[in-house]
């Protein structure tokens, strides 16, 4: 098993009321950006990643978001480049570069090759489609998102593996002279792990390409369903999926006492947490979702076209609703949702002693070969963040490794994803263990 460390690198100084007022992190005005504090934090988060290596994590994972205080990693490859030089052992895992919104796959191939070379082959590169809000931020046509993603991915692999120079005339990308001088250190190219939030299309695509799929704190029941979907698709491709094909990332915060962990762990719901990443109109840009996903969305309770019943239509004169909420009440509700998230195993919080059984439960159910801890959001001090990391590394990770050994959960370095052949006619082996879900009331 590979144990990883991840943080969104939150901008910790955005006033929570501004996030509430805006109903989301995305689109809070950058007039609240403090250059000095951000300079401190960018440097601190690099130190934190180095600390993760020092205390023994196998992986430092980075991600990228745009125009959003939820995550300061606006240009993840910059941080990855610095870490390639500063660190010595950890795998630098990018989950992932949003190919459709960056719109320049040749440049991406060059940047990643440099990072892999500087790190002497420690890069793991992942791709994402980019959040809905990022299509707007980067003016990337969301209706072509999936096409951009597929074409950019195929192009990058070709740019790394087909000797140049050659010419490329695709549907969305065009290059006269493809001959990147710097090629990745790893042959034929760095490993590719794909993070996701349960899009069936992405899961199937990963299985087709034999890329490990990493569930980003996804609900346990649906995660099991999609692990099965992956394994079924893998069987069609002629291989048996196993833990080397799966990863899981889970928000986790650990402190010396339960009280402190519970108090600071609330940072995960600061401003509304992940659910307040962006408002619905930014989350669902036109054409971003597949027809199948739109069909599912359409059947959720949505109400009327105009948000009013026909009778009330005549009275409806404005479309702007005044925000009359009491923000302290909002905070109280969020604290409630934090408790619920813990009951549902979507956030893990406590002392090393109390978090370990929960982590073991996740390992038993999902059987991932890659397990990544996501450090707390919100205004939590550097010291408390590092204490959580240290406690995990010293008091939790050894037991996690031992349990992974017991469950036989090899990672993609120990067992190449897709190497185990599936024999036609034989039933594929299970990839999840759903037995505990019923007793935890988490089968949904």
């Amino acid at each position: 098993m590979k144990i990883g460390y991840f943080t969104e690198r939150p901008y910790r100084w955005v006033p929570e009321d501004e996030v509430f007022k805006n109903h989301a992190f995305f689109a809070v005005s950058n007039k609240f950006f403090d250059r000095e504090k951000a300079a401190d934090d960018y440097n601190y988060y690099l130190d934190e990643a180095c600390y993760a290596e020092e205390v023994g994590f196998d992986v430092v994972a980075l991600n990228e978001h745009h125009g959003n205080p939820f995550c300061m990693g606006g240009v993840m490859n910059v941080e990855a480049s610095i870490l390639a030089r500063l660190t010595k052992k950890v795998k630098i895992v990018l989950i992932g570069n949003p190919l459709p919104v960056l719109k320049h796959p040749l440049r991406m191939a060059e940047e990643l090759a440099e990072i892999d070379l500087i790190s002497r082959g420690r890069l793991v590169t992942g791709w994402v489609r980019g959040a809905g809000s990022e299509q707007f931020f980067n003016n990337a046509n969301p209706a072509y998102n999936r096409e951009y993603f597929n074409e950019a991915h195929d192009f990058i692999i070709k740019a790394w593996t087909k000797p140049g120079p050659w010419r490329y005339e695709g549907k969305h990308f065009h290059y006269r002279h493809v001959n990147p001088w710097a090629l990745p250190y790893q042959k034929p190219h760095p490993p590719i792990w794909i993070p996701g939030v349960l899009s069936p299309e992405t899961v199937k695509w990963c299985a087709e390409h034999r890329y490990p799929y990493i569930g980003l704190g996804t609900a346990l029941g649906p995660s099991c369903d999609l692990w099965d979907l992956y394994a079924d698709e893998a069987a069609k491709q002629g291989y048996q999926a196993g833990s080397e094909n799966f990863g899981y990332l889970i928000p986790t915060f650990v402190a010396e006492t339960e009280e402190k962990a519970q108090e600071l762990g609330k940072g995960f719901v600061y401003g509304g947490g992940q659910n307040a990443f962006s408002r619905p109109e930014f989350t669902l840009p036109p054409g971003y979702n597949s027809k199948g996903a739109v069909k599912m969305l359409a059947r959720q309770p949505g109400g009327s076209w105009l948000g009013v019943s026909p009778d009330k239509l005549r009275q409806a004169q404005t479309d702007e609703e005044e925000d009359m909420r009491d923000y302290n009440e909002v905070r109280r509700k969020l604290a409630g949702s934090f408790q619920k998230a813990q009951r549902n195993f979507q956030v893990i919080c406590g002392t090393p002693k109390t978090v370990l059984p929960k982590i073991k439960m996740l390992l038993q159910i999902l059987r991932p070969g890659i397990f990544i801890f996501f450090n707390v959001q919100g205004p939590v001090s550097n010291q408390d963040r590092m204490t959580s990391m240290r406690l995990l590394a010293e008091e939790v990770n050894p037991a996690v490794r031992e349990y992974a050994q017991e469950l036989d959960l090899p990672d993609p370095y120990e067992k190449e994803p897709g190497i185990v052949k599936a024999y036609s006619g034989a039933r594929r082996l299970p990839v999840v263990d759903r037995t505990p879900l019923d007793s935890l009331n988490l089968s949904f």
Partner: protein, 261 residues
């Protein structure tokens, strides 16, 4: 209610759905970026003296998406092909919002394809002042409500009142997705269109605009007037982006006078 039917025609290998109704001189109607809202009262009125021919845009549910259509200019070329194959050119046209963009592209490419061109709150040109409302980062509710100045307009309730069905939601998402494919960038305009409209300077053109339009600013009308100095303009007071339903009488009067000229 006039007699209208849904027909199909094979155009460039695509089965195009076309709503046809009324009798008289053929009148091509190009619907807006949100899709054909259905046959309502003003259609009946106009159909008394005209045969309305309303192609349902590819990608908008009833007509399959055409992969090679990637701009409003491409779409204009596709509709020009339709008119020629159906022996309908030259024809009168009334076109709404993004439909106006399509009609303008067609006229710029071949001004002889139309006899009269009526553009209602047309997109397609960069406004001389102001901005075309960006409909893409809006929820369905906000997007639709912005199209009228007065949401109590009866026809607005007829079209959009009541519970939205899953099928309507899907149709709306289809519409937004296709509008994004064609008009995402530059947003709902083509920088060369204003220059090429010089080809159509002698085409009788009517510009209709509501002075409370929150979608297409007056700057778009001014840009069209600059490109087509002979165009006639009718400003309908106190209405938004849909003068045809918010003040049908005024709209029909302007249309009938113009089409009879």
């Amino acid at each position: 209610m006039a007699n209208w039917t849904e027909t199909t025609a094979n155009i460039a290998g695509t089965t195009l759905t076309i709503v046809r109704g009324g009798s008289g001189k053929p009148l091509l109607m190009l619907h807006d970026e949100l899709g054909f809202p259905g046959w309502v009262k003003w259609n009946d009125e106009l159909a008394k003296e005209h045969e309305l021919i309303i192609p349902l845009q590819p990608g908008y549910g009833k007509t399959p998406r055409v992969d090679w259509i990637r701009s409003y200019r491409d779409l204009g070329g596709f509709y020009a092909m339709m008119l020629r194959e159906m022996n309908l050119a030259p024809i009168d046209v009334v076109a709404f919002s993004a439909g106006g963009y399509i009609a303008a592209e067609m006229a710029a490419s071949d001004p002889n394809i139309f006899r009269h061109m009526a553009l209602v709150a047309p997109m397609g040109l960069k406004p001389t002042e102001g901005e075309i409302l960006d409909i893409f980062p809006l929820t369905i509710r906000t997007c639709i409500r912005r199209t009228v100045a007065d949401p109590s307009t009866p026809e607005f309730g007829t079209i959009y009142g009541g519970e939205m069905t899953p099928e309507q939601f899907e149709a709306f998402e289809d519409a937004r997705a296709e509008a994004a494919r064609l008009g995402w960038e530059p947003y709902m305009h083509n920088p060369s269109l204003g220059y090429l409209l010089g080809n159509a300077k002698n085409l009788p053109t009517l510009l209709v605009w509501g002075d409370k339009d929150a979608v297409v600013p007056k700057g778009c009308i001014d840009a069209y007037k600059k490109a087509l100095p002979n165009a006639k303009t009718v400003v309908v007071p106190n209405v938004g982006h849909r003068p045809e339903i918010e003040n049908s009488a005024e709209f029909l009067k302007a249309m009938n006078e113009f089409l009879a000229s």
